[in-house]
């Protein structure tokens, strides 16, 4: 009996570990939880700058991973500005100039409306499994929830962040914390997810704090006001013509 107990204690961690999903399975579950055929999101972005804070409100329509249309609703200076992502191209429209402009090159690295997010962040393929090789570093706890820490290394060149470290909720398969690194190993951004909500059976973050660590300020808060999945979004929304409407 004594030997049986010792043997059990010795093999228990191995048994538990063997039941844990692989790194690849974890990011597949994360992707599955995050992505949908389409979604419509109304959100707020509170940008904490060195001279105070600003709140930008927006409504986004997203279909698959490469079609996205965003209209900014407030403040007055931003109202009517629209952005359209079609594949690897990002177009923006400003009512003040009545111009449709392609955002490319170094402009993609610029901040979106002064926030801690860049246009490059918006352009990224959200499917982690398409872009990264994952490896489990170990277990941890974030916000009193058990998580796996995964290190993701870019599979291909030209990806904005060469390495990511993600803390994935072991039960809900949602990222609770994320560090984004440059190829040199320099930490570029930190994302910390706050309140969670369950919508149509999925766990999604209601609030998140994006922090560009190379920038002064306390970061940009993202707040999801409403979200609906698998809506039927008409094709015209994802056309350049809709930018002027």
């Amino acid at each position: 009996m004594k030997y049986a107990m010792i043997t059990l204690l010795l093999i228990l961690p191995a048994l538990l570990f063997s039941q844990a999903p692989s790194a690849q399975e974890i990011i597949e579950r994360v992707d599955k939880n995050t992505l949908s055929d389409s979604k419509i999101v109304v959100s707020k972005m509170i940008i904490h700058g060195r001279r105070g804070e600003r709140t930008v409100e927006a409504k986004s329509w997203q279909r698959s991973i490469d079609h996205s249309f965003t209209e900014y609703l407030a403040p007055a200076r931003e109202k009517g500005t629209k952005m359209l992502k079609l594949g690897d191209q990002l177009w923006t429209y400003s009512p003040a100039t009545d111009r449709i402009i392609l955002i490319s090159g170094h402009m993609l690295r610029q901040s979106v409306l002064g926030s801690d997010l860049s246009y490059e962040d918006m352009m990224e393929d959200p499917f982690l499994q398409n872009m990264y090789e994952a490896k489990i570093i170990g277990p941890d706890t974030v916000a009193n929830r058990p998580v796996w820490i995964l290190e993701l290394k870019a599979k291909k060149k030209g990806i904005a962040y060469d390495t990511r470290k993600i803390w994935v909720d072991q039960e809900r398969f949602i990222i609770l914390k994320e560090n984004l690194y440059a190829k040199s190993g320099t930490l570029l951004k930190q994302i910390t997810l706050g309140e969670m909500m369950q919508v149509e059976g999925r766990w999604i973050p209601k609030t998140a704090l994006y922090k560009d660590v190379l920038k002064e300020g306390t970061g940009t808060e993202m707040i999801v006001d409403s979200i609906t999945f698998n809506e039927n979004i008409p094709d015209y929304i994802f056309s350049k013509a809709s930018l002027r409407k």
Partner: protein, 424 residues
């Protein structure tokens, strides 16, 4: 005696021609290089002052820490009031606000969609007022290649090379995409009034110039500027006056607890030229020293050859009772005459060539094709009072030094051996 020595030099060309030529070439090079360096340095200081820092520059403290990134979100608010104070306290200075900004310049096609675009750096200054000091300092009117000066809101100037790259001409529309000082996206349509070429590669390649009032509206920077530049009225940096002014200003207005309070800096500190200017000063002395040493060696050699050739003459002079010291002194006096003569010729030639280069300049644009330095690609010399006197130091010192070393041989000759030597 000097007249006698001069006659000797003129009649015996082999005694004077080679040393004079050596001094002439050395002095010519010294004067030319000195004037050239003067010109390059003056141009660098002038360009830096005009395009970047002024003679003194006022910025918010937070902005100053990251000034090379033009962080307009940290710009100074309350420009009008501060300008009033500056004009009252330092009325002798010319004060002018500027905004530097970056972004993307986008050119529309007939449908209003992107035809071409390129990253742009911009400078907002007072362009509309005909009495604008900026137009005079930057010689904006002279820099116009095509089109005209902006006359009304919404008109800009664009670097000629940049315009060609974007395939735009005066009259075309260009959209500036940038950020407001509060971080919002700023998109503004401008009409291209003209194209400019300043001869500064970094600017001609990708810069636009707009009136500050237009950019204040476009970037939501009302009564705000990134920097306020101060210029001395004679457009010359006064190295004693400027630091005193900056110290007095900072004592009164700089508040270490408020990162948005203004601070004043001087041209050498603001531009990082302080060490460079010191180095250039040292370089002038080093160049002169090199010429003195090199020419002294050549003239020492010439003196030795001269002594050999004049071996008999010096022997006879010693034999008839002329003191060694007197002979040595006459040789030195001869060398002084040669030094002065060669220096005058070398200085005149050096100044003449330097003056031509001051007028016409030499275009080194090909070297600065990809440079980000705000310096002119046309190099010009600058003839100053120093150009007229700088050559005399190496010219005279080297001839005297060369002769003095070569002449030591006189003291080694034995009077008892003279007649024996003269028999040869």
């Amino acid at each position: 005696m000097i007249k006698f020595l001069l006659k000797g030099l003129m009649r015996d060309r082999s005694r004077s021609l080679f040393p004079v030529l050596t001094v002439f070439i050395g002095v010519f090079l010294a004067v030319f290089i000195y004037s050239f360096m003067n010109g390059v340095l003056a141009d660098m200081v002038r360009s830096t002052a005009h395009y970047q820092t002024g003679h003194v520059r006022i910025m918010a403290q937070a902005y100053a820490k990251e000034a090379n990134q033009n962080p307009n979100d940290l710009a100074f608010i309350g420009v009008a009031k501060l300008l009033d104070v500056l004009n009252e306290k330092y009325p002798e200075m010319i004060w002018t606000p500027r905004i530097k900004f970056g972004g993307l310049l986008d050119i529309p096609d007939e449908k209003g969609e992107t035809k071409t675009q390129g990253p742009v750096s911009g400078m907002a200054l007072n362009l509309f007022s005909s009495s604008s000091v900026e137009i005079r300092l930057l010689k904006v009117k002279e820099a116009i290649m095509r089109g005209r000066m902006p006359k009304q809101p919404g008109e800009i100037l664009i670097g000629d090379e940049f315009a060609k790259k974007l395939q735009v001409s005066p009259g075309d529309t260009a959209t500036l995409i940038s950020s407001t000082m509060y971080g919002s996206m700023a998109m503004t349509n401008f009409k291209i009034a003209g194209t400019v070429q300043f001869g500064v590669a970094a600017m001609d390649r990708g810069t636009i110039f707009a009136d500050i009032s237009d950019i204040q509206v476009a970037l939501d920077m009302q009564d705000t500027a990134g920097e306020i530049l101060g210029f001395f009225p004679d457009d010359i940096y006064h190295e004693k006056q400027a630091p005193i002014m900056a110290a007095a200003f900072n004592k009164e207005f700089k508040d270490s607890d408020n990162q948005f309070s203004p601070q004043m800096g001087t041209l050498p500190d603001e531009s990082g030229l302080a060490d460079y200017l010191g180095l250039i000063d040292s370089m002038s002395i080093i160049i002169i020293m090199i010429f003195v040493v090199a020419m002294s060696i050549v003239l020492w050699n010439a003196g030795l050859m001269g002594s050999l050739r004049r071996y008999g003459e010096i022997g006879v002079r010693m034999a008839i009772g002329e003191a060694r010291g007197h002979i040595y002194k006459t040789l030195i006096l001869e060398s002084v005459s040669i030094g002065i003569f060669g220096s005058v010729l070398g200085t005149l030639a050096g100044v003449a060539v330097a003056y031509l280069m001051q007028i016409y300049g030499l275009n080194f644009g090909f070297l600065f094709k990809n440079s980000a330095l705000m310096i002119s690609s046309v190099y010009r010399a600058q003839v100053t009072f120093g150009s007229f006197i700088i050559g005399f130091a190496p010219g005279i010192i080297s001839t005297v030094l060369g002769t003095a070393i070569a002449g030591i041989g006189i003291y080694k000759r034995q009077t008892s051996q003279l007649f024996k030597e003269l028999e040869v």
